[in-house]
Symmetry: C2
Subunit: 194 residues, 2 copies
DNA sequence: CGTCTATTTGAATGTACTCAAAAGCGGTGG
DNA sequence: CCACCGCTTTTGAGTACATTCAAATAGACG
């Protein structure tokens, strides 16, 4: 028996659903396990679902010309992950998405989302608010990227994702911050010796 | 007689309105001039409107502890500008917004937007798509901030805003890229001599 | 246990910044 | 209309931040 509490609570933060609407929504979701290191989506593939994480950790990243990974976003419990651009425009994805831990998600396909938005238009509002909040959070990150030093960005990261430091490797964190793992190691040493 | 073509065409890209709906929408807009260097919003103030730019150029920026400006976003014709966080949560704004050129906008207030979303729920969809697109564009910028050199970011800027280079000062561009004006001057020289 | 990857450390290098001074440019007022 | 003022851009020298390369150590996983 699957537990839909987390996702229903998340929806309920922004819109109110009656029992039938809840059941209809749930009927459109597909439960999936993603094992650590498995991919949800690769560059050039078509991202066919948006994914609500109930457990675990996903990352969205790019590879540069030297094969170095750059992490655009982490996704943890109670968050959505995916490539909205690819998903919504049916175009090849610009990103890789894989699992840093064994992860469980509820997926909604494009067809089902369209069905949902038509049947219960309130969900337009839900997704509007979701994107709005994500947009605001990204604006903050952009500000930090252009105005903070690497050290300040690292300290901010610890604030924003207090639980994540113990769960993922330092290399992942450095990749999210836009610095090398070597330099992050030096920063941590510098911070700890004062 | 005000010209609503640009904003109606923008809305029409995403949702279809009949004549009455158009008229109702237009009735909620307030036309405003912002003279070059005037502020639409300051840090700590309450951002009371979202602004659709019909002419001119706005910038959203922060000031760091040394008084240096960091530009989060430019807004030009056919774009919305504002601080959605402050606007939607009635909290003090984190940003300054001012005009780099004499600018004309259509403003919608929070009350009118709420009225609009209730009366014509299709607008939830319009704003959902707007934020979604903005989110995708920001993701791309974040990727560039963490994986590109300053020179690559500058060349990307020229692609993304082809018209803007002649309209605004180099200092504004450097501030958007996250580098100093001095360094941008050096980059341009380096680029032009090859 | 062995292998593979992550982390640390150190040295050398490159990228971007600070400070300072000079040159350029735009707007304003006499 | 020109002179002046303030701000932007350029240039140069010195410095700090962050990277690369390499080697050693530590951890994780089969």
């Amino acid at each position: 028996m699957l537990n839909y509490d987390l996702i229903l609570k998340n929806v309920n933060k922004h819109i109110q659903l009656n029992k039938e609407e809840k059941e209809f929504f749930i009927s459109l979701l597909h439960h999936k396990f993603i094992k650590r290191k498995d991919f949800l989506c690769r560059l050039g593939e078509y991202s066919k679902s948006e994914n609500f994480i109930i457990k675990g950790c996903l990352r969205t990243y790019t590879l540069d010309e030297n094969g170095v990974e750059h992490i655009i976003a982490f996704g943890i419990e109670d968050w959505w992950a995916g490539d909205p651009y690819s998903f919504l425009t049916n175009s090849p994805s610009n990103y890789y998405i894989d699992a840093l831990e064994d992860t469980e998600v509820f997926q909604i396909s494009k067809e089902n989302l369209e069905n949902l938005l038509e049947t219960i238009p309130k969900f337009e509002r839900y997704y509007r608010i979701l994107f709005q909040n994500a947009y605001v959070a990204q604006q903050k990150r952009i500000n930090q990227n252009i105005s903070f030093s690497a050290e300040q960005r690292y300290l901010e990261f610890l604030q924003k994702f207090p639980s994540l430091e113990q769960r993922i490797s330092q290399k992942q964190i450095s990749s999210y911050l836009g610095i090398t793992p070597v330099f992050l190691s030096m920063l941590k040493k510098k911070i700890s010796t004062r």
